[in-house]
C-alpha cells in the first residue's frame, strides 16, 4: 500500500528539468499553481495544459507515474466535484427531487477537477525531478532573507530534510515489523476500524521505539561531527544559477504573462 504512493518521490533520470536549479523549480511550481487559480477561461486552460504537458515530456518521467501521483487524492477530488456540481445555483439543466444540476455547476466542477489534478501533477513533477536535499537547499536559500527576522530558516530546512530522509527508512521498517508480527499470527486486516486500530498496536509500538532510537542515534552522530546549526556553515554543492536557469526563468515569465493576458483581459 505504502509503496504505491508516488507523491513526493524522486525519479532518477537525466533531463534538462532534473539539472535545473531547485530554486527555479520551486518558483515555477509556485507560479504555476497561482496561475491555475486565475479567472476561468478556456484559453488559459489550454495554455496551462500545453505548459504542463511540455514540462512532463521534458522531465522524462513516465506519464503513468505522474498520473499515479493523483490517485491518492481521487476521493477528495471526486467529492469536491460532486459538491460543486450539486450546490451551484444558475441555469437549471436537469432536476430530479433534491438533485439539481446547473450549467454553471458543470463548468465550475470541471474547472475544479482540472485545477486540482494539474496542481498535483505540477507539484509532483517538481518532486520527481528534485531530490529532497536539493529541494530543502533551494528552500533554505530562497527563504534566506527570513534569517534577518530571526527565523531559524537553516534549522527548519534541516528538520524538513531529515524528516523527508526518514520516510523511506520508516516505511521499510514498518514493512518489516508488519511481516514479523504477521508471522507470529497477528491479523492486521480484518475487523472494524476500532478493532483494527487496536490490532495495529503490535506494529506501532516497535515502530515508534525504532523511530526514537534512530533519532537519538542521529543526534549523537551530528554532535560527533560538530554540527552546530547554520551559522558559518558552507555547502558541499552551493547553488549557483547557470545559463539554463535564466532561460527557464524567461520561459516562466512568458508563461505567466500569457496566463495573465488570457485570464484578465481576453476573458
Amino acid at each position: 500500500m505504502l509503496r504505491e504512493m508516488t507523491l513526493g518521490q524522486y525519479y532518477k533520470a537525466d533531463s534538462p528539468l532534473h539539472r535545473l536549479d531547485p530554486r527555479v523549480k520551486l518558483a515555477g511550481t509556485l507560479l504555476f499553481v497561482i496561475t491555475l487559480f486565475f479567472p476561468r477561461s478556456v484559453l488559459g486552460l489550454i495554455v496551462a495544459t500545453l505548459f504542463l504537458g511540455s514540462v512532463i515530456v521534458m522531465s522524462r518521467v513516465p506519464f503513468s507515474m505522474v498520473i499515479r501521483g493523483v490517485k491518492p487524492l481521487f476521493i477528495i477530488i471526486c467529492f469536491s466535484a460532486i459538491v460543486n456540481l450539486l450546490c451551484t445555483p444558475g441555469t437549471v439543466l436537469f432536476e430530479a427531487g433534491p438533485v439539481r444540476i446547473t450549467q454553471e455547476g458543470i463548468w465550475i466542477s470541471f474547472y475544479l477537477v482540472v485545477r486540482l489534478v494539474y496542481l498535483v501533477m505540477g507539484s509532483s513533477i517538481m518532486t520527481f525531478t528534485t531530490t529532497p536535499n536539493q529541494l530543502t537547499d533551494g528552500l533554505e536559500k530562497s527563504l534566506g532573507f527570513l534569517q534577518r527576522l530571526h527565523i531559524p530558516i537553516h534549522e527548519l530546512s534541516m528538520m524538513i530534510s531529515i524528516a523527508l530522509r526518514f520516510i523511506p527508512i520508516l516505511t521499510q521498517e514498518l514493512d518489516k515489523i508488519m511481516k514479523a508480527q504477521m508471522s507470529r499470527g497477528a491479523d492486521l486486516e480484518s475487523g472494524n476500524i476500532f478493532q483494527r486500530a487496536r490490532k495495529l498496536l503490535p506494529v506501532l509500538v516497535p515502530l515508534f521505539i525504532s523511530a526514537i532510537r534512530r533519532a537519538s542515534d542521529l543526534a549523537l552522530a551530528m554532535d560527533a561531527r560538530c554540527y552546530s546549526g547554520g551559522e558559518g556553515r558552507t555547502k558541499l554543492k552551493p547553488l549557483i544559477y547557470r545559463r539554463n536557469d535564466f532561460i527557464a526563468y524567461g520561459i516562466l515569465l512568458l508563461y505567466v504573462v500569457i496566463m495573465i493576458v488570457c485570464g484578465f483581459w481576453i476573458a
Binding site: K12, K176, K179, A180, R184, G185, P206
Partner: protein, 308 residues
C-alpha cells in the same frame, strides 16, 4: 513430506526500474522433518525473499509450495496454520517486542493461534525455561532488558507457537560470544530433542560449518548448491566466485595441505597435494575438518604419525 518448493519465482514490483528483476528464480528444494540446514549467499542473493515465501508472507509469482503434501497457495490452505507450523525469526527479532511485560509478549503468538490464556501462559513458561529466561523476568518490561536477553525473549515468543519448522534469519547478528554460544546450543537442543527442523541464514561460515548438516547456496536469485556441509565447503573455488568464503579451519587445513603438511596421516605425496590443489583433501581421507576441534584432531594425529 515436510516442505517442498517447486520452481518458485518472485519479482519485486519496483517502480523505479523499467525492467523487472527476479528476486528469486526457479527455486526447488525440500526440507524434511528433523533436518538442520543452513542457507548461505551473498547479500542480495534472495535469501530473505525465499524465507518469506516459506512463511507465506510473500506469494510466489510462479511455482508451487507444498506443506506436508498440501498446496499452500491454492486458497484453501490456512496461512495462520502455516505460520504456526513454520515459524520465521527475522533479523534482529528484538525490534518486534511491544508488550508491557515479557510474559505478555511471549503469549502474543499462541494467543493469535487461538489458545486460551492459561494454555498460552503454560507454553510461555515452558519456552522461557528453554530459552534460559529467568522466571523473575516475567513481569519485567522487555525494553528494560539487555540486548542478548531481548533476543532470547523475542525467540521465545516465536517458539511459544510450538512450530515444527524454525527458520532464522541471522539469529546471532550483534550478539556477543556467550550469547551466540547459548543461542546455538538452544538450536541444537531444539533440533535434537524436540525434533524441530532448523533452517538458518548466516554469513558466518564457521557457524554454518559447526552447526548445519546441510547447506543451501544461493547466488543471484538462484539455488546453485544443495548438499551436505562437507561437500559444499569442498567446492572452495566456486564459492569464492560467488563472494563466499569457507570456514577458517578449512582454509587453514587447505594451506597446510598445499604446503605438504599432511603427508603422514593422509598418505598422499607432497607434490601430488600441491598440484591437485583443493580437490585433493576430499580424495585422501574423506572427511575434511569443518571445525577447529576437527582440525586440531587432524593435526595431532599427523603429529603422532610423525613421531612414530
Amino acid at each position: 513430506m515436510g516442505i517442498v518448493l517447486k520452481n518458485i519465482s518472485y519479482q519485486y514490483k519496483d517502480q523505479w526500474q523499467e525492467e523487472k528483476q527476479y528476486a528469486i528464480r526457479d527455486i526447488s528444494f525440500s526440507l524434511e522433518k528433523g533436518e538442520y540446514a543452513a542457507l548461505i549467499g551473498h547479500s542480495g542473493s534472495g535469501k530473505s525473499t525465499l524465507l518469506q515465501h516459506l512463511n507465506g508472507l510473500l506469494r510466489p509469482m510462479s511455482g508451487e509450495y507444498y506443506f506436508d503434501g498440501e498446496n499452500v497457495f491454492d486458497g484453501k490452505f490456512s496461512l495462520q496454520k502455516l505460520r504456526q507450523k513454520v515459524a520465521l525469526c527475522f533479523q534482529y527479532p528484538e525490534y518486534q517486542l511491544f508488550e508491557e511485560t515479557v510474559l505478555k509478549d511471549i503469549v502474543f503468538g499462541p494467543k493469535n493461534m487461538g489458545f486460551d490464556q492459561q494454555t498460552c501462559e503454560e507454553k510461555a513458561r515452558k519456552v522461557m525455561e528453554l530459552a534460559g529466561i529467568s522466571p523473575k523476568l516475567e513481569t519485567a518490561s522487555p525494553f528494560a532488558l539487555s540486548g542478548g536477553q531481548k533476543r532470547r525473549v523475542a525467540l521465545a515468543g516465536i517458539l511459544a507457537m510450538e512450530p515444527e519448522y524454525l527458520i532464522l534469519d541471522e539469529p546471532v547478528a550483534g550478539l556477543d560470544g556467550k550469547g551466540k554460544e547459548n543461542l546455538f546450543s538452544l538450536l541444537k537442543y531444539l533440533n535434537e530433542k524436540e525434533n524441530i527442523t532448523i533452517l538458518l541464514v548466516s554469513h558466518d561460515m564457521d557457524d554454518v560449518a559447526e552447526n548445519a548438516r546441510r547447506v543451501l547456496v544461493m547466488d543471484r536469485g538462484q539455488l546453485v548448491m544443495d548438499d551436505t556441509t562437507e561437500k559444499v565447503f569442498s567446492r572452495e573455488k566456486e564459492l569464492k566466485d560467488m563472494g563466499l568464503a569457507i570456514p577458517q579451519s578449512l582454509q587453514f587445513y587447505n594451506r597446510l595441505t598445499a604446503g605438504g603438511y599432511f603427508r603422514n596421516s593422509s598418505g598422499a605425496d607432497i607434490r601430488d597435494g600441491a598440484a591437485a590443489g583443493e580437490t585433493m583433501q576430499t580424495k585422501t581421507r574423506g572427511k575434511i575438518p569443518l571445525t577447529v576441534e576437527e582440525l586440531a584432531a587432524r593435526i595431532l594425529e599427523e603429529h603422532q604419525c610423525f613421531e612414530k
